[in-house]
């Protein structure tokens, strides 16, 4: 009886296609439909990405050349890094709206330290500036984590405060102005390559693999997913919930800080009112489109990467076809709704 009873609670999806004999053929035809719904939920982002690449190869002039692809990939790393942190935070059932402001703070801290005295800076070595910039991201992340995990403020509210205040802090640090940076090492970050691939891509790739390993293989990764899946149960199972949550937000802060420094290097300046602007929304979009549910309990790193590439390529494609910015924003909105809808349908039919 066990096989029947488990299958009955099993509901639709996980049952192998060859059922008992003697059933009607129309039932058989129904099943690929269910399979498709499931396939789309799990792999929709890859399908969409594949279609978009195919479209570009066929219809977009100059898509098949190295420069276009390099440009595309040069724009990716900051959003990708922020999205990785966002995926982990969303996996715990939270959200981090402060990532854009964190990028600005890290950029401002770096600029203040490295800029010469004539530009109101401290004229410190660039490596110290980079390190302390990342340190600033860590501080912001820990602050978020403490507010969420210890003070038990809802994540959206806790991180909203820094979304609002963060850019102000960054402007105070730089003295309210854009700070231009003429540091040779930033040019290395901007243009340096290893095996024909930019350094920043290497950094992004290594951090992506690191985050994926952390999420899938470490105690910490198991715990963060459990917390997102059921917070009360996680507390009662003896999971160090506070420590785990603070660490998650801290990682998000550090990744955002690195993203902020890369963006600064590309811009050759620290502009607190521009760096990382609206990146939190781009990251949330990429994570959701990549198949990580906003309700938490699951983290999809590869999906997130695909989501980032998809959204970036979509923007590039629309620009290449001279479609106005307003329209491309609407298209992005449609894609977000579609991504969430696919997940929702799958859940309610299960």
């Amino acid at each position: 009886m066990s096989s029947v009873s488990t299958a009955a609670t099993n509901e639709s999806a996980d049952v192998p296609p060859d059922g008992p004999s003697g059933e009607r053929p129309d039932q058989r035809r129904l099943r690929p439909g269910q399979g498709w719904a499931r396939f789309l939920r799990e792999h929709g982002v890859y399908v969409a990405l594949g279609l978009l690449v195919l479209y570009n190869v066929l219809f977009t002039a100059h898509f098949n050349n190295v420069a276009t692809i390099q440009l595309l990939f040069a724009q990716l790393p900051p959003v990708l890094l922020v999205s990785l942190g966002m995926a982990m935070v969303i996996g715990t059932g939270g959200i981090d709206l402060s990532v854009g402001a964190t990028m600005a703070i890290a950029s401002a801290v770096m600029a203040k330290l490295v800029a010469p005295a004539s530009a109101n800076g401290l004229a410190q070595p660039i490596f110290l500036a980079i390190t302390l910039g990342i340190g600033a991201g860590l501080v912001v992340g820990v602050f978020n984590g403490v507010v969420v995990a210890v003070a038990k403020v809802q994540p959206i509210v806790a991180t909203l405060s820094l979304l609002v205040a963060g850019r102000g802090i960054a402007l105070v640090i730089t003295g309210g102005a854009l700070v231009e940076l003429f540091v040779p090492f930033l040019k290395v970050i901007r243009q340096g390559q290893l095996f024909g691939i930019p350094y920043v891509m290497w950094v992004a790739a290594i951090l992506t693999v690191a985050v994926a390993v952390v999420v899938r293989r470490t105690t910490f990764g198991y715990r963060l997913v459990a917390i997102g899946g059921n917070l009360r149960a996680s507390v009662l199972a003896g999971i160090p919930v506070r420590r785990t949550l603070i660490t998650v937000y801290a990682i998000s802060g550090v990744l955002a800080a690195i993203a902020g420094e890369i963006a600064t290097a590309r811009l050759r300046a620290s502009d607190p009112s521009y760096i990382g602007l609206l990146v939190e929304l781009a990251a949330i979009t990429a994570v959701v489109v990549g198949g990580t549910p906003l309700s938490g309990g699951r983290v999809r790193i590869v999906g997130t990467v695909a989501g980032v590439v998809l959204m970036q390529m979509l923007a590039t494609t629309l620009v290449a076809h001279n479609i106005p910015n307003s329209v491309s924003q609407i298209v992005e909105g449609v894609i977000i709704v579609a991504a969430v809808y696919i997940q929702r349908v799958a859940r309610s039919s299960a």
């Binding site: 009886m1 609670t9 009662l236 003896g238």
Partner: protein
């Protein structure tokens, strides 16, 4: 009133229901019984439009009907009350009673009228509650009663109750069965799904037994016995059940006189617990008896560090525990099985493997990395030992039956090798077979020297399973019973006695004034 013919439903390749017939008549209470996964829920969902059947037909008042969604079924007068209350906890009781068919006046909500009508309705069914208060402030039991009142207030012709008593106290069950009786008098056809055969025999006129999605038996309640019914549900011979009829907790020798493994002394929390002390020796099962809200769950939660205390001490194996967090209590060798499996225990989207391994992660991690091999070995051992039925360790825990989910949670605690186990309603809402298995397991664990604290709403389970029983009421300890003194009567008397004393006290106070 409502009849179903040849109902069949498949999910993917598996048949959940196959050619089932059921006939409901006005003024008749019809029990639907069977083990978990027998197809009870599927049948109900076919009748109420949640699922569409693959074959067969539903007739309502003689006509073939087709409900594309639950709303159509409700409009036709078929109301369902689920195991868990599906209402809005933030809204007032009155608003909940009229949810979806609010009384309005000039386009605005007529709160006064809703409050008045809701109060009348609740009063008719003997439910005492302030209808203006949010539903969520009430106990689960009263919430369930409100759900029943809501269903019957819609002039339903068919009321389907899916395990309505699984979270109710005995007293509340009585109340609910009274309401069921009223419905019968009003000529409503009632479908009553329950695991509790007591209730089935008390309240139902007819019984239908399902097993593996098939109709096994249907007939009048007076023509059958409990044992026959159980054997039909399990598909075993009645003689096999000889021992299974009683709970599996009995027949254990009393524990030797050893130093206590758990001492909780003078637990105190304002308005919740009042000077409660629990002592458990190795191999001893201490039952906590009392009604819902008596402080049973709060006591074990406090021992587990999940409920902050104003004062009181907890000592495990001679070591006083200072930090009151579940994590530190687990490290000290205390394990708890929470009362609310879904809300407090399971991580539904994760696999059996990850759910079992959750608390013990540090034990099979090296430098922060989880060893899948070590985790897999331990999980396999416990899946075998507790006989967890699943397609494999990677099956999602949400897909398991209640009994198997409970075993997963037990396994999560057992793989920590605890000294003390706190079990809050370990057999609630699980089928007869799994219940016996869990009870056997508890007694095996005690024999191996664990200290067990057992909470159960079923007095029988506490009485047969415990070496000593602590009786609680309103967060205070009324007294304790040992060995042969433990009986259902003794416990009831204790609780009733306290209630009487209170009444007398109130009266003298009134006289004095």
């Amino acid at each position: 009133m409502l009849s179903v013919r040849g109902a069949t439903k498949r999910f993917g390749g598996a048949t959940a229901l196959s050619g089932v017939d059921i006939d409901l008549f006005p003024g008749e209470v019809h029990a639907l019984v069977g083990e978990n996964g027998a197809g009870k829920s599927t049948l109900i969902k076919l009748m109420t439009g949640v699922y569409q059947s693959d074959a067969g037909e539903v007739r309502h008042r003689g006509e073939v009907v087709h409900f594309p969604s639950p709303r159509e079924a409700q409009l036709a007068g078929i109301q369902t009350i689920y195991q868990e209350v599906h209402l809005a906890p933030q809204l007032s009781i009155a608003r909940n009673v009229f949810l979806g068919r609010e009384r309005t006046r000039f386009g605005a909500l007529d709160l006064r009228r809703m409050n008045r009508e809701a109060a009348e309705l609740l009063d008719r069914y003997g439910i005492v509650a302030d209808v203006r208060r949010p539903l969520g402030e009430l106990g689960l039991g009263i919430q369930q009663m409100v759900a029943v009142a809501r269903a019957v207030s819609t002039d339903a012709s068919v009321v389907i109750m899916d395990e309505p008593t699984s979270s109710l106290e005995p007293r509340e069950v009585d109340k609910l069965l009274e309401v069921v009786g009223l419905l019968r008098q009003q000529g409503v056809a009632v479908v009553y799904v329950s695991h509790k055969l007591d209730e089935v025999f008390r309240a139902c006129d007819k019984i239908t037994v399902l097993r593996d999605g098939r109709l096994v038996w249907t007939g009048a309640t007076r023509e059958t016995t409990r044992r026959q019914l159980i054997s039909r549900m399990l598909g075993r011979e009645a003689s096999d059940l000889e021992s299974g009829l009683r709970t599996q907790l009995g027949n254990r020798r009393p524990p030797a006189d050893q130093p206590p493994v758990l001492t909780a002394a003078h637990l105190q929390r304002r308005f919740v617990l009042e000077d409660i002390s629990v002592v458990v020796r190795p191999g001893e099962v201490v039952g906590l008896a009392g009604l819902l809200g008596s402080g049973r769950s709060e006591t074990v939660k406090a021992i587990f560090g999940a409920l902050p205390l104003d004062s009181g001490t907890v000592t495990v194996a001679g070591h006083p525990l200072t930090r009151a967090t579940p994590a530190s209590r687990i490290r000290a060798g205390v394990g708890m099985l929470p009362e609310d499996r879904k809300a407090e225990g399971l991580i539904p989207e994760l696999s059996i493997r990850d759910n079992i391994g959750l608390a013990a992660l540090p034990h099979f991690s090296v430098a922060g990395f989880v060893s899948r091999r070590k985790q897999g070995e331990i999980v396999e051992v416990f899946m075998k030992r507790l006989r967890i039925k699943a397609s494999g360790p990677d099956q999602k825990v949400a897909e398991l039956s209640g009994g198997n989910q409970q075993k997963v949670l037990l396994a999560r605690m057992l793989c920590l090798n605890p000294k003390v186990l706190l079990l809050d309603e370990p057999t609630r809402g699980i089928d007869v077979g799994a219940k016996a298995e869990v009870q056997t397991l508890i007694s095996e664990l005690a024999e191996k020297g664990l200290g067990v604290v057992l909470i159960s709403s079923e007095l029988e389970e506490v009485v047969e399973g415990s070496d000593s029983v602590l009786v609680l009421r309103d967060g205070a300890c009324l007294g304790s019973l040992f060995g042969d003194d433990i009986s259902e009567d003794a416990i009831m008397n204790m609780i009733a006695g306290a209630a009487e004393q209170e009444m007398v006290a109130d009266e003298t106070q009134a006289v004095a004034q």
